[in-house]
Amino acid sequence: METALTGLVGLFYAVSIYMMLSKHIIRVLLGIAIFGNAVNMTIFTAGRVLREVPPIIAEGRTALDGVTANPLPQALILTAIVISFSFFAFLLVLAYRAYQELGTDNTDEMRIAEPEGEGLPPLGY
């Protein structure tokens, strides 16, 4: 199971990095969305895929019986999902504003903050 998931994770990374290499912000954002999912899958796989038994201690007992699912990766993934989701939402708004204000979604043409041909500072006075 881990092997299949590993292959899937690799595919996710390949797709997301290819998308993020684009000049266009919207593709970069889609790449980032896939990147976040790839990470979640990585954590999930790294936490080992165990039995689909919830790790809940039965009533009247003090320890788990047998093998159960590992709850920690799921907690980590939930945290990561929340963060990447809010990040992605922010980036969407930001990219939309950038498209409105700067009139382009091509990162090569976003040169307001770093104007081209700025020239050298004064070399003497």
Partner: protein, 522 residues
């Protein structure tokens, strides 16, 4: 509820059963107080008159908590608090050693100074937009990163301050801010995601996220686990956060776009969190891997130092100049990490403390120069020496400090780093540190010569100038200069802090012991 139905369970193996006294809360207070304050300000976001007052009260309380923490750490060693009573490694541990406590104290101090500067720099619109809440949440994230003892929690605090920094970065929504924010946001997101990937791998290998536990288990797993891969990925992730060459291009693209007080906090604090994370992972967790990677780190350090300051030479806008000087300073700190001896590490720690103060002060001073001279451009500034002599004195002091010349704070860490580099037979690292100091002197000396000594320029728009406020203007930079002069003239207390911090880094035994002795003790 379980206690009703079953026999009472002996929980001493799972819980901290000792009583947590009030003073133990100093470990968590530098994080909890700003979060509470930030949340409160978000709730009353329209009452902008309240914002500054509440923010100052919270920052003062946070700084006091940091001082208490520092005092406790100096007296009793590493302080530990585990969330929710669960014994480590199960609960998330907050763990303040000398390194974290010193950095948190310095960061809170610099932020407080910046918050005073913001009284004038941020108008009512900016406050309504949420400048002070974001500021408090950012310092909560920064302090949390410095104080946490759990590597996934470190990731969470990274995200807390990154998200708050977005809010600060686009305050005002100018076109250039949005342009800068797009690059800052995307590249920082990728950096933290790489951090998360690596933490996933780390969890897969170690089965634990507590940093002391990882350090304890690293020796046993070195043969079987891919620790080298994990360490290299951390170098990539934190190097990107710290703006180390060749991953530094987001910094000069964005740090000059926001309000100057925001730039000051970013330049002072955020890159240092990356440096802190590098120090923590490469000395406490992976010392063997650090030794293997030391050549790589050294090359990165030299390139960051020299190319950073060369970039500064080519800039017209003084904010961008300072941005490149920040990058160059990161290279100097990485040099200490590359050498790795206790002397080098204490040099790095002291340099980081110095850098938090001086880089914040430099940006704030740039803001004052803008108020006095009406521009950030070296083409337009001029004649400030005649009109603002105090400003000139402060600029000179900051130039000396940033370049590492006596009698200010930059001298001693650079002396320590140079000495450590000579002892470590790394001559080219020595050369690079000295070369970057010379070039920094030239860069800031030229800013001084052009904007202060040169006669006033006809290009300048005098209508854009305004008088400098004595407290929110001069006062903030002077306050930041006080510890800088102190480090320069009487460095012993700071040296002792830096040496204790470096000793704790070089020998993680005490860091591990402070967490796991609690199990047997209380």
């Amino acid at each position: 509820m379980a206690a009703e139905t079953s026999v009472p369970v002996d929980t001493s193996a799972a819980f901290v059963l000792g009583v947590t006294s009030l003073i133990d809360w100093a470990v968590i207070a530098p994080v909890a107080l700003p979060i509470l304050g930030g949340a409160l300000l978000l709730m009353v976001r329209h009452r902008t008159r309240l914002h500054a007052a509440v923010a100052f009260a919270v920052l003062a309380a946070t700084f006091a908590a940091c001082l208490v923490l520092l005092w406790r750490v100096m007296g009793e060693g590493t302080q530990v608090m585990t969330m929710g009573r669960w014994l480590p490694p199960y609960g998330i541990t907050f763990q303040a050693d000398m390194l974290g406590a010193a950095f948190a104290t310095t960061a809170t101090f610099a932020t407080t100074a910046a918050a005073v500067f913001a009284l004038r720099d941020i108008n009512a619109t900016g406050r309504r937009y949420g400048f002070y809440p974001f500021l408090l949440l950012m310092i909560a994230g920064v302090n949390g990163a410095f104080l946490t003892g759990d590597i996934f929690n470190l990731y969470v605090w990274f995200e807390v301050f990154v998200i708050s920094s977005f809010g600060l970065l686009i305050l005002g929504s100018e076109r250039r801010q949005i342009d800068g924010a797009v690059k800052y946001a995307v590249l920082n997101l990728i950096a933290t995601t790489v951090f998360l990937i690596t933490t996933g791998y780390l969890y897969g290998v170690f089965g634990t996220l507590n940093m002391a536990d990882i350090a304890r288990k690293a020796d046993g797993l070195r043969e079987s686990g891919p620790l080298m891969t994990i360490a290299t990925l951390y170098l990539l992730a934190f190097g990107m956060k710290a703006a180390a060459f060749p991953l530094n291009f987001w910094l000069p693209a964005s740090y000059h776009t926001p309000r100057i007080v925001t730039s000051a906090m970013f330049g002072g604090l955020l890159t240092k969190v990356g440096v802190y994370a590098l120090l923590r992972t490469f000395t406490t967790l992976f010392p063997v891997e650090r030794a293997v990677l030391s050549d790589v780190i050294a090359v990165v350090a030299v390139l960051t130092m020299v190319l950073g300051v060369l970039g500064a030479l080519a800039q017209t806008d003084i904010r961008r100049t300072i941005g490149f000087v920040v990058i160059s300073g990161i290279g100097t700190m990485l040099a200490g990490l590359a050498i790795g001896s206790p002397l080098a590490l204490s040099g790095t720690v002291l340099y980081a403390i110095h850098s938090i103060l001086i880089m914040t002060a430099l940006y704030l001073l740039a803001g004052l120069m803008r108020e006095a001279g009406g521009s950030f451009s070296l083409h337009e500034l001029g004649g400030l020496y005649r009109s603002h002599p105090l400003l000139a004195a402060m600029m000179l002091a900051l130039m000396l400090a940033a370049a590492g010349l006596p009698p200010l704070s930059g001298l001693w860490p650079k002396v320590m780093l140079v000495k450590a580099a000579i002892e470590g037979q790394a001559w080219w690292l020595t050369g690079a540190i000295l070369l970057s100091s010379v070039l920094t002197t030239i860069v800031l000396g030229r800013v001084f010569a052009l904007s202060f000594w040169r006669p006033q320029q006809a290009l300048a728009t005098p209508a854009d100038t305004r008088p400098i406020d004595p407290i929110a203007g001069y006062g903030t930079v002077l306050v930041l200069l006080v510890p800088a002069v102190w480090i320069g003239l009487w460095p012993e207390p700071f040296l002792r802090i830096a040496e204790t911090a470096a000793a704790g880094l070089a020998d993680p035994g005490s860091y591990i012991g402070s967490v796991f002795s609690a199990q047997g003790g209380s």
